[in-house]
């Protein structure tokens, strides 16, 4: 089987399970919505400019719900030792990693697709920037977060308190992508010219490439017993 077919197979299996169980969709969405509602009550957005605070609020919701998705992703493989079944298969183990990243990106993207329009309405924000660039920025940073998160999730699910350990490891490592995500989104919402946030986009792209490449190389060792 080709490398990319194995990636699609693993991601497709996760999506099929999610469509059937809806375990993550409900939890992720309600959690992210709750974050928005709490921030909406905590800050008076008629006084505070949404462009200043909004990107931070949105990315807190995306990343926290992303952690929930990451925790569930490998827990499901550890139950019934399913991960051993996949490790036994004659596929490159990094294809398994990329399949899990792809599934997490899709789960997070689904939350973002629902949350962004709700946030626009909830915070009475008039968006004047370029939508394609917003989508590109969301995608770039979501991939970075999922890439590093999937690697740490694979490492921590074997530990006794993996669900607690994951955010402790993930959030410090995700600081660059969090900064780049918030800054890029902020510039985009303010309608600034591309040159003002090009360096943040470059940082996100470099982060994605470095973590994806490192994880593809290291994943075999991460899973080793």
């Amino acid at each position: 089987m080709s490398y990319w077919r194995a990636v699609l197979l693993v991601a497709g299996k996760d999506l099929r399970i999610e469509l059937r169980s809806r375990e993550q969709a409900v939890t992720l969405l309600f959690f992210a919505l709750l974050v928005l509602v709490v921030f909406n009550f905590a800050f008076d957005f008629t006084i505070i400019d949404f462009v200043t605070l909004g990107p931070g609020v949105l990315w807190v919701a995306f990343m926290f719900s992303g952690v929930l998705a990451l925790n569930r992703s490998f827990q499901n493989e550890r139950e019934q030792d399913r991960i051993q079944g996949i490790l036994l298969a004659p596929i490159d183990r990094s294809a398994f990693y990329l399949g899990k990243v792809a599934a997490t990106v899709l789960f997070m993207a689904a939350v973002e697709a629902v949350l962004v329009p709700i946030a626009v309405v909830m915070f009475n924000f008039r968006f004047s920037g370029r939508i394609a660039l917003v989508i590109a920025a969301l995608a770039l940073n979501t991939v970075g977060f999922a890439a590093v998160g999937t690697l740490f999730s694979a490492m921590t699910t074997r530990t006794r308190r993996g669900d607690l350990l994951l955010p402790l490891l993930l959030f410090p490592a995700a600081v660059p992508v969090a900064l780049a995500a918030v800054k890029t989104t902020s510039h985009l919402l303010a309608g600034h010219p591309f040159a003002r946030y090009a360096s943040w986009i470059a940082l996100s792209a470099a982060y994605d490439l470095i973590f994806l490449a490192a994880a593809v190389l290291l994943f075999d060792q991460v899973l080793e017993e």
Partner: protein
């Protein structure tokens, strides 16, 4: 022997199916498997016995390349697992205590997923055949989470044999099976043996499997306490060894 759909050499060959030299595994301070010298020719059926914690599952996981040895070496079909590991993994069928099955997928979907993962030429056909062999065709489109333990075990066995592996590593395959299912499994293992496939079967129920095996390997605390042709072993010798009698007691049967 049935034709090999995967294009690699058949199970019979000049190299032994399993060859270990000082293979050992420790978990921290605990020695799960002491250095083991073992050669299993291709086509041989080995019955792996031992009390709980004897190292049977550890040995099977080492042979399945799922666990790295602390020391020693392993060769499967003449190849060390590190070289072309994916190719070797294709030749292994492993059944663990856990089923490896996804509760929210149906029986057919589970088998189809594994069939595709193994790159079978006709995963749909193989899955269908496996569902029938597991006698689950009437429940093939039901989620595995709704199955009883015995049905899940039958499906797990079908999964481990789906890609027609040359080396079967089965850990307690009779667990949860009723009498009829056990008979079916015995018949299936007999077919696999007749087809020349190598097998290592760990079980507590030696009475059922002794007659169908070529060789008996009994572990105690990670050490081989008995390694002999099955026809030369008395069941009461196994009983005595499992109860802690010193090896080499007065049981040896003349062949």
């Amino acid at each position: 022997m049935s034709p090999d759909p995967r294009g690699h050499p058949g199970p019979q060959g000049a190299s032994p199916a399993i060859e270990t030299r000082g293979l050992a595994r420790r978990f921290g301070a605990v020695g799960a498997l002491e250095p083991l010298e073992l050669t299993v020719p291709a086509g041989e059926s080995v019955l792996l016995l031992g009390p709980n914690g004897a190292g049977k599952s550890t040995l099977l996981r080492l042979l399945a390349t799922l666990l790295r040895p602390t020391s020693g070496s392993l060769r499967l079909f003449g190849e060390p697992p590190a070289s072309g590991e994916a190719v070797l993994r294709r030749r292994i069928g492993f059944l663990s205590h856990q089923t490896f099955l996804y509760d929210h997928l149906t029986a057919r979907e589970n088998l189809l997923f594994y069939g595709r993962l193994y790159g079978l030429a006709d995963p749909g056909g193989a899955a269908e055949e496996a569902v029938r062999a597991a006698r689950l065709d009437h429940r093939g489109d039901d989620p595995v989470g709704t199955f009883s333990r015995g049905m899940q075990q039958r499906l797990a066995i079908a999964r481990s044999l789906l890609h027609r592996p040359d080396l079967l590593l089965l850990d307690e395959p009779f667990t949860g099976l009723d009498r009829e299912s056990s008979r079916h499994l015995e018949a299936r293992l007999h077919e696999e043996h007749a087809a020349g496939r190598t097998s290592v079967i760990a079980t507590h129920d030696h009475g059922r499997s002794l007659g169908a095996s070529d060789r008996v390997l009994l572990l105690r605390s990670g050490v081989v306490a008995l390694d002999r042709k099955a026809r030369e072993v008395e069941p009461r010798e196994i009983e005595a060894l499992l109860e802690g009698a010193p090896p080499g007691g007065p049981f040896r049967r003349r062949s």
